[in-house]
Symmetry: C2
Subunit: 377 residues, 2 copies
């Protein structure tokens, strides 16, 4: 397979807590000029025309970011497996298995008690990327037999209107999960809106009460946030031991890094959290048996950062310019796959790793919610 | 000063989440036979008559615990300072300063709006240690001008009775903080009882909603748990930088370790959490610029675990048998003070370090609550 070095235009996403996007859109950013029209995200732009290392210490990790890690321009689980020593953790396949399991459970539930789980999605405004995510969620619901409900509101809607719709879904017995697609228009207070979702239907798992329970020993969250839940599920499905292992989470966002660290700790890993203020992150990362990276920086984690035999879970989905691709860009992870896969024992590809797991976990949370509400086991 | 090696009887406290004791009693255990009559705590007992290392890998840290770290039998901040290279972090003095500041604020508030903060404590049963803690809290309230209210209920009370009293305090405008002294009698569900305290008066800061907000970037908890808040306050008062530093928290209890780690991360430290399932904890601890230890194991952290120049915050308050003491025991920390103080740049003594800070932070939280409820700045 031919390897091509790419000249990249970077958009560095600072995965801040203030504007998390919802489920499937998380950590996804676009740096293709064509696609930039689609986005109004408040992210910092760092651009260069030369493929040289770029220091972004002022806002992000105080390290040198390589944007042109050699890798195949079209990476699939099967293809990369032939080139690397690491086992490829095939998130696409696992997600498919999980969907099939969910479909079976939904049929069983429907036959036993006549209940079909329902997921409601509220979309405000006309962002095309948000519309795509909502469409994908609807498709996924259809594929497993979850009823989906959708409310589309104009960009000019008021916060009150959105909250009114949430309240109706809170009271609607046929709805077991409510998602508000983020980002919301800037005139709305995201926290107010999200807090209106009743905790029993907060399938995103972002309610502080859920996060608090996730952090506390002896407490159980009602829902675990989808992306970190997907990361841990991958480790479980591949029988990768967590207990007693050194784990490093790179990134501390509310939607991935922080809950991933809490989940690993619940499973008795010894966890360190590396973030933009960490000095010499590679020194800490190199100690890890398990690395979960969720920063949204293309190829930040080099092969030299990885302990031989480590397991790598790459949450980053970063588009980098690729003139050879029909779309003009390709997706790469936070981890320099080409280098790291030669050192690691197992690694998730991008795409086809964590990505497909997020929607699978959303479906799983919706089923869980319906089961709990109807006391069905 | 004469150094005496002590033969110890150990009670190893596994600081589990299931039965945290309230504020000042936290992490305090007694191993003096006389004092054992006072306690009915569900803790594991490990006893030996010889002062040899004891391995407690089955329940606690998989390491060898030295119970007889040489140290002066009567340790005060002033005394130890003469023997060590580390600066002594004098929690007793800082706590006194804070109480004085609180007293000034309370006077200002009373004069301005006629409001005096009030703290209500509910004590169930006749545990002498709990009665002592409650008495100490009352004294502390008196010393700064906080009104204290106390309800004592019989061991045989029902959960409903306790919750009824909490509800009354929830509705009582003169009460700004509510503490339920733990442990509760075994026939009560602690979680049910604690959840009855309204979050606006949860001065202990243990409500999962508070913990969730503590964990989330961009969110603010209403209250920070007293002991970890005291640890960070000590660092602040001694101008010890946290941002960008490597911090290791030893212990992951809901009441100290976990919230301490979240607080350090909020201040941009790079945090690792070491716990009973961590292999080779000393290797990780040795990387830390700041160590907060909260496991309740006498002298577990040896001098060899400490990076030269590190700052050590010792939350453990472990009584070890001491025939030379009038009480028959003395208190030591989790950190082997004698050894570690020769390596560290700063260290908290036990007693006189973190201990006095816990009640000071409880008073601080009560004042904070009253200010917030009455919108006084």
């Amino acid at each position: 397979m031919a390897l091509t070095k790419m000249t990249s235009t970077i958009i560095f996403t600072h995965t801040s807590s203030s504007s998390p996007s919802s489920s499937t859109s998380r950590l996804i950013c676009f740096n293709n000029t064509k696609l930039q029209k689609l986005q109004k995200l408040t992210i910092s732009h760092y651009r260069r025309s030369n493929p040289v290392p770029i220091s972004i210490s002022s806002r992000g990790f105080s390290t040198t970011i390589i944007t042109h890690c050699s890798s195949s321009s079209s990476t699939t689980a099967t293809q990369v497996n032939n080139e690397t020593s690491a086992n490829v953790i095939d998130g696409k396949r696992v997600a498919k298995d999980i969907r099939e399991e969910i479909a079976v459970e939904i049929t069983r539930m429907k036959e036993a008690i006549g209940i079909v789980p329902g997921l409601a999605v509220i979309l405000v405004g006309d962002r095309k990327d948000s519309a795509t995510y909502v469409r994908n969620k609807k498709k996924a619901c259809d594929s497993v037999g979850i009823n989906s409900y959708e409310v589309r509101l104009a960009e000019s809607s008021t916060e009150e209107e959105v909250i009114n719709h949430i309240s109706k879904f809170n009271d609607d017995a046929s709805v077991h999960g409510i998602l508000v697609q983020l980002p919301l228009p800037s005139h709305m207070d995201e926290q107010n809106v999200l807090n209106a979702v009743c905790i029993e239907k907060d399938v995103d798992g972002f309610h502080p009460l859920n996060i608090g329970r996730l952090a506390m020993r002896g407490r159980e969250p009602l829902f675990v946030p989808c992306t970190p839940k997907g990361c841990i599920e991958l480790l479980h499905r591949y029988d990768i031991p967590i207990k007693g292992k050194r784990a490093v989470v790179i990134g501390r966002s509310n939607i991935v890094g922080m809950p991933a660290a809490l989940l690993l700790q619940r499973e008795d890993a010894t966890v360190s959290i590396v973030h933009s203020r960490t000095k010499n992150p590679e020194e800490i990362v190199r100690q890890a048996d398990i690395i979960i990276s969720a920063v949204g920086q293309p190829n930040m984690v080099r092969g030299s950062w990885v302990k031989p035999g480590a397991v790598l879970i790459d949450v980053g989905i970063n588009p980098v310019e690729d003139q050879g691709s029909p779309r003009g860009y390709r997706l790469v992870g936070d981890i320099c796959y080409e280098e790291a896969s030669k050192v690691a024992s197992a690694i998730t590809p991008v795409p086809g790793g964590v990505g497909p797991m997020t929607i699978a976990m959303l479906l799983s949370n919706t089923l869980l919610s319906a089961k709990r509400i109807h006391n069905f086991r």
